[in-house]
Homo-oligomer: 177 residues x 2
């Protein structure tokens, strides 16, 4: 049976769409008037490719994520899952580095961390597990009553994973399975 009382939910969810160049983030809050976006944006790290640069990039990302956590005090962090059968295995491994420091930031602030795969996120948001980026952006805009399309798409993806987790908490049987 679906839950119906917002007090039972994590009231603030930080969604993160990890990347080594651009990481999208979005903090949503479930209140008496429905869902609101507390903050959303991107953490940008530089784009050079050496090993030492990668260390600096994960450091920038970690600092950025900790900054968002410390400013907005979410109760949960939701992150998109990575796939082993990713089309670009090198990218997936590099994304693993990014996720590693995001996971660390959540653990250091004692925040539970959940992850959902891309298909499930799209399905729970749009009803279609193969929805386009544009569809996700438009659905996010409508559901969260934003005045403009969330842009770049990394921001929409971050809000999408947060919203997917909210739906999962609210209606675990009806929408998210």
């Amino acid at each position: 049976m679906p839950l119906s009382n917002d007090d039972q939910f994590d009231s603030r969810i930080l969604g993160i769409d990890p990347g080594l160049q651009i990481t999208g983030y979005g903090v949503i809050e479930a209140g008496p008037r429905g869902l609101t976006v507390c903050e959303a944006g991107i953490i940008r790290t530089n784009e050079k490719g050496t090993t030492s640069d990668l260390a600096q990039r994960v450091r920038s990302l970690y600092d950025g994520v900790l900054g968002v956590i410390d400013q907005f005090h979410p109760q949960t962090v939701a992150v998109e899952q990575l796939y082993a059968h990713y089309n670009h295995p090198r990218t997936a491994i590099l994304m693993g580095h990014a996720r590693g420091v995001i996971f660390l930031a959540a653990a250091q602030r004692n925040l539970p961390l959940v992850s959902y795969n891309a298909t499930r996120i799209k399905k729970s948001i749009t009803g279609n597990g193969r929805a386009s980026k544009d569809q996700v952006q438009r659905t996010i805009q409508r559901e969260l009553r934003l005045v403009a399309l969330p842009d770049p798409p990394d921001v929409a993806d971050a809000l999408a994973v947060a919203l997917c987790h909210y739906y999962q908490l609210k209606m675990p049987k009806a929408i998210c399975e």
Copy 2:
């Protein structure tokens, strides 16, 4: 022309063989009497598989690596490279998480970080890029004058990447290309 003065080298190198269950580490030092092992061992994290556990595991690993850095003050961190064509892509992605927090720890202590692929490490240590784990362990024991085989193999692998970096600094043309 090969360098010949140890003062020109990073005198302490921390080698790390990253893993999410067992991470090997080894600190070697180049002194007037040759190479010595300052410390070597493993950082063990728990083996559960949930997302939140992964966050705790990267946290334990990060704490362990920072602890080694702060106790032994290496000048450089050397880590094995991950491959995109890894036989176990899911493992490679998870290892990416581990490497991410190791890279972060190095960056936070302003230590340069270098990485070498497995073939190059084995070739520089044993002369054979396809050397077995046992060969690597025996060569490391001999080169570093250890009274016993470094065990588990993760410790030998960590010392191997540190030693590979030392050879690279000492004889960049002769051995490591």
